[in-house]
Symmetry: C2
Subunit: 459 residues, 2 copies
Amino acid sequence: MAKAIRLSVIGAGSAQFSLGIVRDLCLTEGLAGSSVVLMDIDEDRLDMVYRLASRYAQELGKDIWFEKTLDRETALKGADFVVNTALAGGHQREEGERALQIKLGYYRGIHYSENMFHQFDLMLSVARDVERICPDAYLLQSSNPVYDGCTIMTRETGVKVIGLCHGPFGGIREMARVLGLNEAEITWEAPGVNHCVWLTTFRYRGENAFPLLESWIEKESERYWADNWQPDTFETQMSPASVFMYRHFGLMPLGDTSRGLWPEVWWLHRDLETKKRFWGPRGGFDSDEGWQNYLDRLSEGIARMRAAADDPKARVTDIFPPRRSSEQIVPIMDAVANDRQGYFVVNVPNRGALPGIADDVVVEVPALIDGRGVRPLTMPPLPQKVMLGAIMPRILGMERRIAGYKSGDPQYILMSLLHDHRTRSLEHAQEVMDALMAFPPNARQAEHFGFRARSEAAE
Amino acid sequence: MAKAIRLSVIGAGSAQFSLGIVRDLCLTEGLAGSSVVLMDIDEDRLDMVYRLASRYAQELGKDIWFEKTLDRETALKGADFVVNTALAGGHQREEGERALQIKLGYYRGIHYSENMFHQFDLMLSVARDVERICPDAYLLQSSNPVYDGCTIMTRETGVKVIGLCHGPFGGIREMARVLGLNEAEITWEAPGVNHCVWLTTFRYRGENAFPLLESWIEKESERYWADNWQPDTFETQMSPASVFMYRHFGLMPLGDTSRGLWPEVWWLHRDLETKKRFWGPRGGFDSDEGWQNYLDRLSEGIARMRAAADDPKARVTDIFPPRRSSEQIVPIMDAVANDRQGYFVVNVPNRGALPGIADDVVVEVPALIDGRGVRPLTMPPLPQKVMLGAIMPRILGMERRIAGYKSGDPQYILMSLLHDHRTRSLEHAQEVMDALMAFPPNARQAEHFGFRARSEAAE
């Protein structure tokens, strides 16, 4: 028995991401007959993804149907599920802003989350459209900031939002490899807020596996790092940064958490030298090289897709072999549509799942999903050191960003900038704020916060 | 009708402070016949205060009786009220530690509250003694840190603790003077947490007086500061620092709040140049000169007391004229003992008085006090900018300090140090922590946090 659903992908031009969904969808018998509406504002990329997706299903002889549209309203009509993977302004705006910030004294730029007007605006606008056009649909949020974004969307709308992140799964994979464990036989839990989650359960073949991790840390880690350690820049899980955090906070950070993306661990990111010490010879995910590597892989993915799209004789399934991914998106749709209970890791409003955190803050917790919806598991409290050193500061930062966005009060931006350890003075913060507002791609943001856009000022 | 009470003063060697209580007590008819037990570990100072206090009551012909003791247990027996004004290790230990911190790169030292083992230890020990020896007594806490200290005491014991601070009253006095208002006709409220309180009500002769303040800020403040402004270093209320905070947070900081004693406003304290810009030509209370001025006044007070004590012909009432102070201690005892309802500003566990703050965090709020005890007034919520920019960070810092003290886990000290904007790296923080623990007067602290004291290490 299969239940056909209607899925709308917002930002479907993210070729690799969209094809990943298409692949998993083709391989999920329970969703046979489903249709996918691909929506993007980049017509060229949208067209490419549409052609590849159609050919993919065709090559596998699967009963999945595709539509494409530049119009969000059209895309959302009748949707059962909406996946939002869009990045407002794309990587180009982000990198332009980063270059500006570097010039103003911020090594590698100010962390994206301190200035997220564009994403808040886009996410809220999508959520409001979902609420209006397909109010019963689940909105699966996969582009960042998942944490802040899902919090503001669930506070401002009644939409059923589920934030998803694959970081923790990558972290477990790396741990399994380094510790010599079979990933499939590990059970784990890592609650927290997105990108700040902490391993509280780690079992292997039914036994507590923390002693294995501790033994590796005590007896093998130093040698592992010394012995010509050449991690891929995506591999941050088994790094000195993680081990330091484990000792400092008392729990192992999982996945992107090991990148240290909240301001209280500024000292991990001081300069390239420090990054190398904590993440190996290439400086980890967030070094110049690491981030470039990430951007390059995105471009290479698109180039590969484009080549396949332009070559009518190529088999897409050769380039993108039909093996199920570990992404949760399609399995979640299957669980809901076919009432097939599954265990997932989701970002949803807390409502008591994690003690000591307000109900309307989105947390990352395990949940059972089935036809009735998402039911998070209640967790024991996280240790006080993790709460006071990582979770609470990250919540405070999120609340400031959301309050700033909602009020349009530039003092919140100043507050965030003054909180950055690299800001040298009040004047420095004010200079940075002015420069960010005068950056042409931020014109709408400048208006929102009561600054005159550069173009007007020049008149 | 008068009700005699028994008051125990812990740290009574603080001569000026103790004589202030004695004076107010002598001038309060409702407490005639009361007795005061003066307790200190400094026998010489204790003796001096005892003689002055006795002579003071005698000169006025008042029926107040004094005892002195070096033993806390003796002091507490039968007490109805206990005033704790003790500073563990005195200013000497604090200044020694400050010098060390300055050498390690922290201009004017790390704010006292980041490292408060000694005061926590002393306060808890006093509160536990009160709980055991005179469990029905009120403990009036006047030495700092009032905020952290009252929070830990009320969490760890069942004692009726009331934290008191005169800062806000001084702030109102300065505002009245500068705005040309009669202080007695001002009504105000400034809730928050101690040293981080914000003017929410400001009325003059029954009318909203915020327009007067705003008009002064807009039209007169710049001229006031430019016109050979030479504030006493204690005068921080009508400073550019206050006005900046008013604009940044949306409410006027009151009293010590205008000194900016929480880490999020580090940029006010960068260097002497910055301090001068924000607090006038002497750099305010917390500049080298301002703090020395504070210490000097304390010494001068003691010298004046000592001269009086050593001169049997001097009249103490000449030196310390019998005029009621604006301190709340004696009026509170009068209110409780004689069921005489009064309006006070107290630091007590929140329990719903200030929305958005946990019940077991001590807040500074107005309260009615009478024979039934302390009943805080419930306040409207503080604006979000004050909560997210000042109150919540200050709560987070307090929670870290208390968790560090309670657990003895040095990672909390490291966390606090890494949070300081002047800390340059993880190594710098570790170096500072090691140096603080090796500082001989901190030997007990070092042991508490699992460091070997220097004396042992040298063996």
